[in-house]
Amino acid sequence: MLERQKMPLQDPKVRATNFNEVALGFTKEQAVEETKRCLQCKKPKCMEGCPVEVKIPGFLKYISEGDFDSAIKEIKVDNALPAVCGRVCPQETQCEQVCVLSKKGASISIGRLERFVADYERKKGVEAPTAPEPSGKKVAVVGSGPAGLTAAADLAKMGHSVTIFEALHAAGGVLTYGIPEFRLPKEIVRAEVEYVKKLGVTIHLDSVIGKIDTVDELLSEFDAVFLGTGAGLPMFLNIDGENLNGVYSANEFLTRVNLMKSYMFPDYDTPIKKGKRVVVVGGGNVAMDSARCALRLGADEVTIVYRRGEEEMPARAEEIEHAKEEGIKFRLLTNPVRIIGDGKNWVTHIECINMYLCEPDESGRCKPMPSAGTEHKIETDVVIIAIGTSPNPLVPRTTQGLEITKHGTIIAKEDGATTKKGVYAGGDAVTGSATVISAMGAGKKAARAIDEYLRAK
């Protein structure tokens, strides 16, 4: 059996000091070589593993034939953001997990190949697709993150007139404020957003829905509304010392670094505290991103504190691996108890306790339990809390008849329909913190449902 192609990477020592992209991308030869491993299954499992239903064997076949133009066209039928997905999707738990080759060693590198053809097209110049017959219907999309962009792109392709309202000064949602440059260059996000605009979508930046306009007001101007408002409010641990100077939510830390470019302070105006020692609490992609940003800002020592074990970490396997290569320390089965200050309101230590995993409960997850008497202190200048977010309340608070769960997430059916007529929702606003691709899948489903709703109207 042919060997899986290795992704060329920036050297860990070098990349730990810059914000340039870590993975450099396959060469043409590597891409073609890699696709030769594909068995072109009659019943391709990989497609079932893709939340946006990309026709994977089809585009792989085109690559194997050296026809990269047709390959990217095939992907874009179903996915408007391939350069993003190729970089940030957790393929190992989706398409690549169900690839039959994964049982015989290693699956096809579907994500890396998707990235390859998307990058190929971007370098060449993206062609504007032909405009469909206008439906005469108008749809407002709230939020320009993965869910919103996908819903907007699909609705535009169906002929609807789509306007996106974005609260921040740049489009992309978490792709822009959250995921760092070294994992997803902002130039790529901008290019994908440009493609969505080429489909005919209008984007209004600096527009906080719930404030400048309510959803009810949007409904007087638009025939339907899609809410892709994301997971808004950062969660904290609710332990002592969390409001000390030097304690950040991951959202704040990453927004300062990525959206505001504080790693280039004072050339850019937004400051950030660069600790010599940094502790990040959490085990997801956001925790990995925060830790690796802190390292690149010049920290000598960055430690991830996570209450479960490595097996249980929700981060992509590749991110954990890259973090380790770069020298990030992992303190697993460890949980913070309190954060300690110097008496002048600045962080000096975080006190943690060792944890152990008990037997799995009905949900299958092992509940971590503290081991009494194992409290210990870790010296640190900066603490970043990356334990998830809860949905932003601005839209639900101002929308009549839009019901939410007790966790604050918007109640929506499988197709995105909310409790309010003509209003659909998807992504983290509905599920709570999840992945880029699941948000895109939700955007796609909602676009279909909105299309049906508008055509029946």
């Binding site: 404020y177 950062p234 969390e242 100077n245 959202n251 927004t255 004072p266 400051p271 932003n392």
Partner: protein, 281 residues
């Protein structure tokens, strides 16, 4: 979409007025709310309280003191220039209703955001007693406008160059101790002033509201930079505030958190001045 500056004026030394053309925001703005702005591509997002709004002309008025890099750069802009981003109206509107008698206290640049509240409380049928204070007479803001909308107006200066020689709290205390019954106090100004007002009103058990000017990034609840402790609970000034019950606010924490970036702010301002005025450093 850039936002045009329609008017720019230095009201008193270092304190500037700016009218921005933002019809969609002006249509919705209410007393107590704020905007977030960014001057240019490399700029910081800073929150400023709305000092006035005109729905007919579609303008938002802001009053700010040039203290850091962004506000200094903002002060150097002129009518006809544009702001890159202007976002709002953010935060919850002030709670305006007919309480009876309301004492409104504005300190320093805080006179600006207190003004639309004075007007709104007056329109709601309250008797409004306003107290405005500054370090010195030449730094006193909007005396005429405040007089126009207040039933009574008191002036204090730290150096005694105008009105009462002392602090706004002296007047608040005198009023509460005297025959003036107050049903509500609203104070906006430097955190030390707001803390002092809270201290004075607490023994009289008068509900006192303050507007907190924490550090913010997005202003929509996303980052948590603006977190404050109110009644021992963590709140986000941007979405839960900016107004809170002064008797429950942890002002020490607020002041500590406001000082986080002091060294960086100093550096950014020095760099800006160097680049603008030219220097050999």
């Amino acid at each position: 979409m850039p936002f045009k500056i329609l008017k720019k004026q230095e009201l008193v030394p270092t304190i500037h007025l700016m009218d921005i053309s933002a019809p969609r925001i002006a249509k919705k703005a209410q007393p107590g709310q704020f905007v977030i702005l960014r001057t240019d591509e490399k700029g910081e997002r800073i929150p400023l309280t709305i000092a006035d709004f005109d729905r007919d002309t579609g303008t938002i008025t802001m009053i700010f003191q040039a203290v850091g890099k962004t506000t200094t750069a903002l002060a150097n802009l002129k009518a006809g220039d544009e702001l890159l981003d202007f976002i709002g109206p953010l935060g919850n509107p002030a709670h305006i209703e007919n309480f009876g008698t309301v004492i409104l206290v504005g300190g320093g640049v805080g006179v600006a955001p207190i003004f639309p509240q004075v007007r709104a409380f007056k329109d709601a049928g309250n008797k409004v007693i306003s107290i405005i204070g500054a370090r010195s007479a030449n730094l006193l803001l909007w005396e005429d406008r405040m007089r126009e909308v207040s039933d009574e107006l008191y002036i204090t200066t730290d150096d005694g160059t105008k009105g009462h020689h002392g602090f706004v709290t002296d007047i608040v205390k005198k009023l509460l101790e005297g025959s003036k019954k107050a049903d509500r106090v609203v104070a906006i100004g430097p955190p030390v002033m707001m803390r002092a007002v809270a201290g004075v009103t607490r023994p009289f058990n008068v509900k006192t509201i303050v507007s907190l000017n924490s550090i913010m990034v997005d202003g929509t609840g996303m980052c948590g930079a603006c977190r404050v402790l109110v009644g021992n609970e963590t709140k986000f000034a941007c979405v839960d505030g900016p107004e809170f019950d002064a008797h429950l606010v942890d002002f020490t924490l607020l002041m500590n958190r406001l000082s986080i970036y002091q060294p960086e702010e100093k550096l950014a301002l020095e760099k800006y001045k160097c680049e603008r005025e030219g220097c050999t450093c």
